[in-house]
């Protein structure tokens, strides 16, 4: 798992080219996923980005700020499949900061494996909550303190705040420990995979999920291009 952790660190760096990783251990396969978020056809990139791709209330007069897909962060990538070892490279802890804004749009957790720490950096207490069909939490967090939560039920959750309804983040709980979070243009590396077929899913903030079946062979490296875009939707452009 030390090797997996080292490789997982590569994806957090958001390499611009294919990462230089060693071949997979004998008898296993390796999957490299290049993730790109693109605007819909007909939508140009903004000339400048004032606050990155944060989801929060706009400052007065800033409501026309455009989506900057090229700088999108917090894109979730995960594998699912019956033959995946349960001890994948999922991080042990993810952190979300509640300041004037939330510092993340989307947080990816591995079901039952990843804890979520929520730090209140405001001068007053906040109550944050989320709920699914069978799981959820509500945390009262005094100013300057951190509370911990965990979600075990895979799915999509909406994190909300009583004191500031404009603060919202999506929490995705993946059904396996084989998870990665990347920036647009970054690479996710899944190493030492048992040969087999898996479902690869990419979920970017606000965008439709992308998924595909990938087959991994022993002693082979597979490379997949994943594009998160509104263009995946039916309508003027159909799902490929």
């Amino acid at each position: 798992m030390r090797r997996a952790a080292a490789l997982a660190a590569l994806l957090a760096a958001g390499c611009s080219g294919p990462p230089d990783v060693p071949p997979p251990p004998p008898g296993t396969g390796q999957l490299l996923v290049h993730v790109v978020a693109r605007p819909r056809d007909g939508v140009s990139a903004p000339a400048s980005t004032s606050s990155g791709y944060g989801r929060s209330a706009p400052a007065p007069g800033a409501q026309f700020e455009r989506v900057d897909y090229g700088s999108m962060k917090d894109i979730a990538v995960w594998l699912a499949g019956a033959t995946l070892p349960p001890d994948g490279p999922a991080p042990r802890t993810e952190r979300l900061r509640v300041g004037k804004l939330l510092d993340r749009d989307l947080v990816l957790l591995a079901a039952g494996r990843t804890r979520l720490e929520i730090a209140n950096e405001r001068a007053s207490a906040v109550t944050v909550f989320c709920a699914g069909e069978r799981d959820g939490f509500e945390l009262d967090i005094p100013p300057g303190q951190t509370r911990e939560a965990a979600l075990r039920e895979p799915g999509r959750y909406e994190l909300l705040c009583d004191q500031d309804p404009s603060l919202r983040a999506t929490i995705v709980v993946a059904p396996s420990a084989w998870t990665a979070t990347v920036r647009s243009g970054g690479w996710a590396v899944f190493d030492a995979l048992p040969p087999g077929s898996y479902t690869l899913t990419v979920a970017a903030p606000r965008l439709p999920p992308w998924d595909r079946t990938v087959t991994v062979a022993a002693d082979r490296r597979e490379t997949v291009e994943a594009t998160a875009t509104v263009g995946l939707l039916a309508g003027p452009k159909r799902r490929p």
Partner: protein, 206 residues
């Protein structure tokens, strides 16, 4: 007006051209939401709705819901409609600003890009939560809840009581939907008799 009918509306269980709903003997469902924990923030809407597989067919409301795009916001930012009801997205900007509308959830469609003064009409054929976004402007989002039948009530404000009138007699499943989900959604069986009111307490638990 540019019109785009982007969703098929053929297979909704109860949405049809004939209107057995209108002629069915009806009763009422009265109830109260009982929350297991306090809700300290602003009271967010909770939709209480009824459904069943053999619900009488009904014609959706003739009047469309209009959602304006003004100052890069959806207005209203939350609404409840009945499956099959039309929604008009109206780019009402005073400046020449293009908007895009796309949906995720019970409807996943890209309704295109349209400029100020233009409108797009959509029909949502599946019940459930529909999240609205604009792929141009990052702060634009909203939600529509598409109720499976006309039998629903929106609980908001200080009162936790609701009344659903005009419910065709029979055995129904009552469910809830929360705009800001804080509790597990409730589900319970309700028998509605013609000319009578069924009274329920809907427990919302965490």
């Amino acid at each position: 007006m540019r019109t785009l009918i982007a969703s098929l509306v053929l297979f909704s269980p109860a949405f049809a051209q004939d209107n057995a709903w209108k002629d069915a003997p009806k009763g009422t469902v009265k109830g109260t939401l009982a929350f297991s924990n306090p809700r300290p923030g602003p009271r967010q809407p909770v939709v209480v709705y009824l459904e069943r597989a053999d619900a009488p067919t009904f014609a959706p409301p003739a009047d469309p819901l209009t959602i304006r795009q003004k100052d890069a916001k959806f207005d209203p930012s939350f609404a409840v409609i009945v499956v099959g009801q039309k929604v008009v997205f109206d780019n009402n900007e005073s400046q020449n600003i293009d908007h895009n509308v796309y949906t995720l959830g019970a409807d996943e469609t890209d309704y295109g890009i349209f400029g100020a003064g233009k409108k797009v009409t959509a029909v949502f054929a599946k019940p459930g939560e529909v999240r609205l976004y604009c792929s141009v402007h990052k702060f634009m989002d909203g939600k529509i809840f598409v109720a499976p039948t006309p039998a629903f009530a929106v609980v908001e404000g200080e009162s936790d009581a609701f009344t659903i009138d005009g419910v065709p007699a029979g055995a129904w499943t009552l469910r809830t939907y929360q705009r800001a989900k804080r509790f597990h959604d409730a589900e319970l069986k309700v028998d509605v008799a013609a000319g009578k009111a069924a009274t329920v307490t809907v427990e919302m638990k965490r």
